[in-house]
């Protein structure tokens, strides 16, 4: 990660800005959303995951310590993703297989909830996303 950040430093012009956007996992609870109403169905299996991303944080701290970048601003927002079916949610979670899995029990509850909600029901996961804005310090 430090090497990748160093490569970005190299390709940036003097005074260039690096924007680091990344999710601060774990996910929020899986919800059933119907119109303005949302109901928690339960949490994904994220037992093997540490909240946040310590390795990425350490890499940012290291390039800051080396004088490559200066942290200028940090912001955050909640990003919501929606699915019409459990199958689509499973497909999405394939990209996160190493940090989050959909337990069979929760998948069953989600199917039942969607069926009862009718065509207006959707599944939702919220992700807390952190944005770091860093400015290149010319070498």
């Amino acid at each position: 990660m430090v090497h990748a950040l160093s490569e970005m430093w190299r390709t940036l012009a003097a005074g260039g800005v690096l924007l680091d956007i990344r999710p601060y996992l774990p996910f929020g609870p899986l919800e059933l959303v119907r119109g303005p109403e949302a109901r928690s169905l339960g949490r994904l299996d994220e037992a093997e995951f540490d909240p946040g991303d310590p390795a990425a944080d350490n890499a940012v701290a290291e390039v800051t310590r080396r004088g490559l970048f200066a942290l200028r601003h940090t912001s955050s927002f909640y990003s919501s993703s929606y699915w019409d079916s459990v199958a689509e949610l499973r497909e999405y979670l394939k990209d996160w297989y190493d940090v989050a899995r959909l337990p069979r029990r929760l998948a069953g509850e989600a199917r039942t909830a969607l069926r009862r909600a009718g065509s207006s029901g959707r599944l939702r996961l919220k992700t807390y996303v952190v944005v770091n804005v860093m400015r290149k310090i010319p070498g």
Partner: protein, 98 residues
């Protein structure tokens, strides 16, 4: 639509509020299929979106809106070894990829 990501537009709004990309030469690392790219590319001077996954870069190129054909390019690249000259970009965006 069967699935959607951030339909409320919180990501685009935050991006616009923290970084001025108007006229900027932008390098986006981990651009994937361009989901984030399309939220700012229209106001940038140029965008090169990289990803180590060739299929994703293919989608990025295929999905370029007509008005962005000459402004956005996709490149298959490893973030550890970027195939670009030094000091070429005004801004670099790490899109969920650090």
């Amino acid at each position: 639509m069967t699935s959607s990501f951030d339909p409320e537009g919180h990501e685009a709004a935050t991006l616009a509020s923290v970084l001025e990309l108007t006229g900027a030469r932008v390098l986006e690392i981990g651009a994937g299929d361009g989901r984030l790219t399309w939220q700012y590319a229209a106001r940038a001077h140029s965008v090169i979106g990289t990803d180590s996954d060739a299929e994703s870069v293919g989608y990025l190129m295929e999905d370029r809106p007509p008005g962005l054909w000459d402004r956005v390019a996709g490149v298959i690249a490893d973030s550890q070894h970027l195939p670009f000259a030094s000091e070429r970009f005004d801004a670099a965006v790490l899109a969920w990829s650090l």
